[in-house]
């Protein structure tokens, strides 16, 4: 069974509220959604909450999901994108020093010095990403952090593949300049 057919079967079962199918969908996509949310909001706890909300919302809406040539992941990322927008609209967010937050929450399995350097790099990256336009951020995070294909990204942000490639090029150019100035 190929991956697409496998996912289609999972989604069909999930539409009948099959808990096991939902569990597998969660396992497949949670980390990707979490990473997307993390780079959008810059806060681990908020990112985890948003990722959880994405799946709860997917549960509410899955009965109306229809295959229209778009991957299922695009649908999930679209929900995630809207939740991130709602998050910023609500104005309840607070800027968190990611490096400090990571120290308190995550043991990366490396020495403190290496860990600190890595987290500093990540914090710089998050800051640099935030200088991009909204669409550029979407493309960069979905492509390089969540590992989505051009087609998936295109469906998720309602653009064509050519536009995604162009956004990707502009985003990486801008990112390089920002990171190079540090």
């Amino acid at each position: 069974m190929d991956k697409l057919a496998d996912i289609k079967e999972l989604v069909e079962r999930a539409k009948n509220y099959d808990a096991e199918a939902f569990g597998r969908i969660y396992d497949l996509y949670f980390d990707k959604i979490f990473n997307y949310a993390y780079y959008k909001v810059g806060n681990r706890h908020e990112a985890e909450d948003i990722a959880e909300q994405v799946f709860l919302k997917a549960l509410e809406k899955i009965s109306g999901f229809e295959w229209r040539g778009a991957p299922f992941s695009s649908w999930l990322f679209r929900i995630a994108s809207n939740l991130v927008i709602d998050y910023y609209r609500a104005g309840k967010y607070e800027m968190v020093d990611i490096a400090c937050e990571e120290h308190s929450l995550y043991d990366g399995g490396c020495g403190p010095e290496e860990f600190a350097i890595r987290e500093h790099d990540r914090a710089s990256l998050v800051s640099a990403i935030k200088t991009l336009t909204e669409e550029q951020q979407q493309v960069i995070i979905m492509r390089f952090i969540s590992g989505m294909s051009n087609e998936e990204v295109a469906k998720a942000i309602s653009k064509n593949v050519g536009a995604v490639k162009a956004l990707q090029h502009r985003a990486i150019s801008a990112l390089g300049k920002t990171l190079g100035r540090e």
Binding site: F34, L56, L105, R122
Partner: protein
């Protein structure tokens, strides 16, 4: 021919994302574009390497459990779960035959015709898996359909919950883990609560149900989904409080007996009179006649109680002000908001667009949150036993 840098970058980015090529391999493959490509690929590589982080394992696991509990609740709420019980109609509410007046009349007529044939009498004692069990469920549904008032419907739902408990007990030897039947118990209790508006009468009736079936309900409680627990917990906690209240009352009464032994006989008569209105099991009060209550466990008598219940009703009126907290689980008469919004505007890609969508997600998580935090109290139920339940058909 020199290729467009956008396409070259995309091709190399794809290879880097999939770990198919290194930076140097990409640059070697596109020597003409090397000067323009190199800084872009360095940034892309940095992005890729620094990017992925792991969510907190415990929080991820806890979120997964909450999601699965929500899925289970959703399945139950929308009736998918009931497909596991072949005896129960799979017809959706929108197409229910009960929404058509003439069909309703026809079914009612048919039910009464069947009454005369004795089929229903035979079906009444049937168990899940037996040929007449679907008839039993159909009759139950018909009774709800013609019940009229919500109060009567609530009484019927509780009656059916009690019936499912009896069936569980009867099936216990062969099938101890019948989740569909257990959920049917909880679902009927919730439907009763919804129909009654969480009234004092409902609490009183729940008290009776819990008193009679405490052991079974405790077993059910362990096996139903998290979201289905509140109704049963409510019943059991009500019952605990009633037990505590009752024991306190007996202590006071016995104290009085010691002080005023001369009036003992008179008080015994009054006490017996009050006890007749209660659903206290025979084993708990030796020497007293087993009272009738809204759902007799051993008889088919549906007459309920009369006369002596009045005392209980009067007592209860002093305590009605103390009510239980609300619950977010909806019975079949009150589908959750998420259900209606979920099937409405969504058509795949429009899924998470609107604010309503967000509300839907919050509703679901709120259900879980409130379910886990809810505490129940019932001080009014101690003396509300059986009142109004005799309206049951």
């Amino acid at each position: 021919m020199k290729r467009d840098i956008i396409d070259v970058l995309d091709e190399c980015a794809e290879a880097i994302i999939n770990n198919e090529k290194t930076l140097e391999e990409c640059l070697d493959a596109y020597k003409e574009e090397r000067s323009a490509l190199e800084p872009l690929l360095v940034s892309a590589l940095r992005l890729r390497e620094a990017a992925t982080i792991e969510p907190n394992f415990e929080r991820k696991r806890a979120a997964r459990e909450r999601l699965l509990a929500a899925v289970e609740h959703k399945a139950w709420e929308t009736g998918v779960e009931r497909q596991n019980m072949p005896q129960i109609s799979k017809r959706s509410p929108k197409t229910s035959i009960w929404s058509r007046p003439f069909a309703k009349l026809g079914i009612v007529t048919l039910v009464f015709a069947m009454l005369s044939s004795g089929t229903i009498v035979m079906a009444k004692g049937s168990l899940p898996g037996t040929p007449l069990y679907p008839v039993k469920l159909a009759v139950e549904k018909a009774r709800v359909g013609v019940a009229g008032s919500d109060e009567k419907k609530a009484a019927l739902y509780l009656d059916f919950a009690s019936e499912r408990v009896d069936e569980l007990e009867a099936l216990e030897k062969d099938n101890k883990n019948n989740p569909a039947l257990m959920r049917a118990v909880a679902k009927n209790i919730e439907a009763a609560r919804t129909a009654s508006g969480d009234s004092a009468k409902f609490k009183s009736s729940m008290d009776d149900l819990a008193k009679k079936n405490r052991v079974v309900l405790e077993a059910v409680l362990k096996k139903v989904p998290e979201t289905a627990k509140p109704a049963i917990e409510r019943a059991l906690s009500n019952n605990e409080e009633v037990d505590a209240d009752d024991s306190g009352k007996h202590d006071v009464k016995s104290g009085n007996d010691e002080k005023d032994s001369g009036d003992g006989e008179k008080r015994d008569k009054e006490s017996n009179k009050r006890d007749k209105g209660r659903a206290t099991p025979k084993s708990e009060q030796p020497g007293t006649k087993k009272p009738k209550n809204f759902k007799g466990s051993t008889s088919d008598n549906d007459d309920g109680v009369s006369g002596s219940v009045q005392d209980g009703s009067k007592e209860s009126s002093q305590n009605i002000g103390k009510t239980t907290t609300g619950t977010t689980i909806h019975g079949k008469n009150a589908p959750a908001s998420g259900e209606s919004s979920g099937s409405g505007d969504n058509n795949g890609y429009t899924g998470g667009d609107s604010d309503d969508d967000r509300d839907g997600a919050r509703t679901q998580s709120d259900i879980l949150d409130s379910s886990s935090k809810r505490k129940y109290s019932c001080s009014s139920c101690k003396s509300m036993r059986s009142t109004g339940i005799d309206d049951k058909e």
